[in-house]
């Protein structure tokens, strides 16, 4: 991802004169969907980490990694949403999130950009239960739709 784009996008929104309650989101793609996650949760983005598998867990839990001495569990967001898995490529990366003091890494197809989004414009998902893990959506300036990841649900116990 390019940091420049991210900053530019943010500035554009600011210039459009919307000082209302905006929140900064990191967007990534997974199985053709654009998904956003609040930057409040994002710690860092890493690539090429060796994942140690953990036995007897659901298939979407890929294992754990050692991030500078910290043990972080990794889940594949594709598998988590019930989509087929694909081979990991060079653009595949892990977004490390900290949700309510729980660190977790999610494997995504590619990271896109950081953008400011007016929270009042986020609309709820029309059909309940169809897309679990998604708690809102918005159509962005270039007509594409961004879904918002429900981080709390991601780490909830089952």
């Amino acid at each position: 991802m390019s940091a420049d784009t991210a900053v530019n996008t943010a500035n554009e929104v600011m210039e459009n004169g919307t000082p209302v309650s905006t929140e900064r989101f990191l967007t990534f793609s997974s199985d053709g969907l654009n998904i956003g996650v609040s930057t409040n949760y994002v710690i860092e983005i890493i690539t090429n980490h060796t994942i140690t598998m953990v036995p007897l867990v659901p298939d979407y839990v890929k294992g754990i990694i050692n991030l500078r001495g910290q043990i972080i569990p990794i889940i594949d967001i594709r598998l988590r949403m019930g989509k087929p898995s694909i081979e990991y490529t060079s653009s595949t990366c892990i977004i490390v999130l900290n949700i309510n003091a729980i660190s977790i890494g999610i494997i995504v197809d590619a990271v896109q950009q950081v953008m400011d989004i007016d929270q009042s414009k986020i609309s709820p998902v029309p059909v309940e239960n169809q897309q679990e893990l998604i708690n809102g959506m918005i159509s962005s300036s270039d007509r594409s739709v961004i879904l918002f990841l429900d981080c709390e649900q991601l780490v909830q116990s089952y």
């Binding site: 060796t50 140690t52 598998m53 953990v54 036995p55 007897l56 867990v57 659901p58 839990v61 754990i64 990694i65 050692n66 001495g69 043990i71 972080i72 569990p73 729980i102 660190s103 977790i104 780490v155 909830q156 116990s157 089952y158």
Partner: protein, 713 residues
């Protein structure tokens, strides 16, 4: 200010604990010794002073009045109190210390101190009045009695004492007291050391004589001092005490003893003439005449001197160099040491070094390894504290309940110096207290008659013991009370609807473990101490929180025993690295009995196709990790891999793995709480660790691993 408050609380709490111990001990002996009185006086004085400084006037007032009370007792001696006063005094002291403790707790919780302490102060004052009015009359009688009793046997005793004193080589002197000092062996220049002692004594204006007399100028006196010791003669018991204080502070003094000058006493007793006529010539004659008495009594001066010496040791606090450190600092120290241990092996087993011949490097690396091991041991030992604090608190609980329930019980502590991790000590205090209360309340028979009828000692005994066994501490609380009736327990459990299978299917062990289920309390009535329904289930939860286990055994009519097994510390363990496919696992060394290459013929199949192998005349199941965890590996033939025979408390079996990678110390890291959602603990993974090369190895929990296989089959 906060720091001062912290110091104050720490100091006061320590003093209160000392005081509690002292009171319990004294109550057992039914009297305060002079040392106890001095000690209580000192403690109260300190509390008074520091409370005044911190402006906690309530505490200061209470301490002040207790101090007054003990000032009186110190002046008049414990003997001035009669029996009823003594027991009153103990009750009063316990009340007062409780009052102090309540106030200290209020300070800790940042609550305002109570202003109404008149009750306790009046109690103390009226008691003081009572003893001071009766004390005057009785003390006279007492002294008379003492005189009378001492007069008769005194002659014989003194004759013997004279002999002994001669044997000890005491110089002749008119002074009634001697202190004999022995310097440390091989310290050299004993005469000068003696002279330094003399100078120190002169500084506090003491009147004394010393032998040999010419230590300052005559270096040959050294030999005499080595052989016989250095004598200081003093005129009164008070002086002796002062001198002992000084002597204690001197360097290189090995022992000292206080000896009463028997010749002077003898002279006083036998003739009213001034004590200027000691009997050195008579003494040797006595010795010859009574060689038998000699040997018999030889032990007595030692005995006499020993308590004197040890008593004076107690009176002044033993100078301990202790500092109190914030626990969080220790935690971070332990964490860093853990990282150092990892990094050390990361450096020494770096792949860059492979295939290089580096003799000097390896030598230094070994040295480093040894040092980091030492460092780690020390870091871990810093967090270790003896259980005695927790155990001593039980004394008080037993005492209070003894009074309330009117049961005669003695508490015996065994192995109270056993050390465990600080966090463990903190979390097992409540469980132990609960179990002791249960034993007092339900375990011990209600009346002494019942005990006598059952052919037992009327005084019941509760034994609280602790012992190390390798990686665990075993704490057991046993009583010799009435024991538990399995039938009753079962019936009660049935009534409470907590049985999960027909009552007849329960074994005795299972019945006893019913006690630890939520909502079970054997006592029909709720008492002040136990039986509120929150019982053993809470205890079990607390013990399990620190990774321990709890078990109960009981024999109807003979008593019960509750055993807690607590791991010493979980932070760092020795582990064996093994590989299965691409995964690495760590098996705690403590669980491994043996590893071996099996032969195909040795493996036996049972009816359902499970593999079994015979080790040392017993059969054990084989668990293939790659099958259990669905790991792809090329090693599936039993002869290609290796079997590791493991065991835990009650299970023993063999694990099949690809190969052994080596032994390593590992820092146990908990798996993320996210993974606990998937019950990862129950699948036999106890945690994970980071290896030298940065890879992660999963630590196997041998007990749960077996349970996991049972779930699968």
């Amino acid at each position: 200010m906060d720091n001062m408050l912290e110091m104050y609380l720490y100091e006061t709490n320590t003093l209160m604990e000392q005081l509690d111990e002292l009171l319990i001990e004294a109550e057992k002996n039914e009297a305060f010794t002079t040392n106890d009185v001095n000690e209580i006086f000192r403690i109260m004085h300190t509390i008074k002073g520091s409370s005044a400084m911190m402006e906690f006037s309530t505490l200061m007032e209470i301490a002040h009045h207790i101090e007054d009370l003990f000032f009186y007792i110190r002046e008049n001696g414990m003997d001035s109190l009669d029996e009823s006063h003594k027991s009153d005094l103990f009750n009063l002291m316990f009340q007062s210390t409780d009052a102090l403790r309540v106030e200290v707790e209020k300070i800790e919780n940042d609550e305002p101190l109570s202003t109404n302490i008149d009750q306790i102060i009046t109690n103390i004052n009226s008691f003081l009045e009572k003893i001071s009015s009766s004390g005057n009359s009785s003390s006279d009688a007492q002294t008379e009695k003492a005189d009378a009793s001492s007069a008769a046997p005194v002659a014989d005793a003194q004759a013997i004492a004279v002999i002994n004193q001669e044997l000890a080589g005491c110089p002749a002197s008119s002074m009634p007291y001697f202190i004999r000092i022995h310097f440390e062996q091989g310290s050299g220049m004993e005469n000068l050391r003696a002279f330094m002692t003399i100078t120190a004594l002169k500084e506090i204006d003491l009147q004394f004589e010393h032998y040999p007399e010419d230590v300052e100028t005559n270096s040959e006196t050294s030999e005499a001092i080595i052989d016989h010791g250095f004598y200081i003669a003093l005129s009164s018991a008070d002086d002796v005490e002062k001198a002992v204080q000084i002597i204690k502070m001197q360097n290189s003094i090995e022992t000292y003893e206080v000896i009463e000058n028997a010749t002077v006493k003898a002279a006083e007793a036998s003739s009213p003439a001034p004590a200027a006529a000691p009997a050195p010539s008579a003494a040797p004659a006595d010795t010859a005449a009574a060689p038998a008495a000699d040997t018999a009594s030889a032990a007595s001066p030692a005995k006499q001197a020993a308590p004197a010496a040890s008593a004076s040791h107690n009176s002044a606090p033993v100078k301990q160099s202790l500092i109190s450190v914030n626990l969080s600092k220790l935690d971070s120290l332990v964490a860093i040491v853990g990282e150092i241990v990892i990094t050390e092996s990361m450096v020494t087993s770096s792949p860059d070094l492979q295939n290089l011949k580096l003799d000097n490097f390896m030598k230094s690396a070994r040295q480093l390894r040894k040092l980091t091991d030492d460092l780690q041991d020390i870091a871990m030992s810093l967090r270790m504290v003896p259980l005695s604090g927790t155990f001593q608190k039980m004394n008080r609980i037993v005492r209070d309940m003894k009074k309330k329930l009117n049961k005669d019980v003695r508490l015996t502590l065994v192995g109270e110096n056993t050390e465990v991790d600080k966090t463990v000590v903190d979390s097992i205090g409540d469980p132990i207290m609960h179990i002791v209360r249960n034993s007092m309340d339900h375990g011990v028979e209600t009346t002494a008659e019942e005990r006598i009828a059952a052919g037992k000692d009327p005084q019941a005994e509760i034994i609280l013991s602790a012992a190390h066994t390798g990686s665990e501490v075993i704490i057991s609380i046993s009583d010799d009370g009435q024991g538990m009736d399995p039938e009753k327990i079962l019936a009660k459990a049935e009534r409470n609807g907590i049985l999960t299978k027909p009552a007849s299917d329960y074994s005795k062990k299972e019945i006893l473990s019913l006690l630890m289920l939520p909502g079970f309390s054997t006592n029909e009535e709720v008492t002040e101490f136990s039986g509120r329904g929150v019982g053993m289930d809470v205890v079990k939860k607390n013990v399990e929180a620190v990774g321990g286990t709890i078990s109960i055994t009981s024999e109807l009519g003979k008593g019960s025993c509750t055993t807690l097994k607590i791991p010493l510390t979980m932070a760092i363990t020795d582990g064996m690295e093994v590989s299965v496919g691409n995964s690495m696992f760590t098996i705690p060394i403590a669980n491994i009995r043996q590893s071996f290459k099996p032969q195909k013929e040795e493996v036996i199949l049972d009816a359902s196709g499970n593999e079994i192998i015979k080790c040392l005349d017993a059969f054990y199941p084989i668990i293939r990790i790659h099958e259990l965890y669905n790991i792809e590996t090329e090693v599936t033939n039993i002869e290609d891999g290796i079997l590791i025979w493991v065991e835990t408390a009650d299970k023993s079996y063999c694990l099949f793995v690809d190969e052994l990678l080596g032994e390593q110390q590992v820092v146990v890291k908990p798996l993320s709480s996210f993974l606990s959602n998937f019950n990862i603990k129950n699948s036999g993974i106890g945690g994970c660790t980071i290896l030298g090369d940065g890879n992660i190895s999963l630590i196997l929990d041998i007990g749960n691993l077996y349970a996991a296989t049972q779930g699968l089959y």
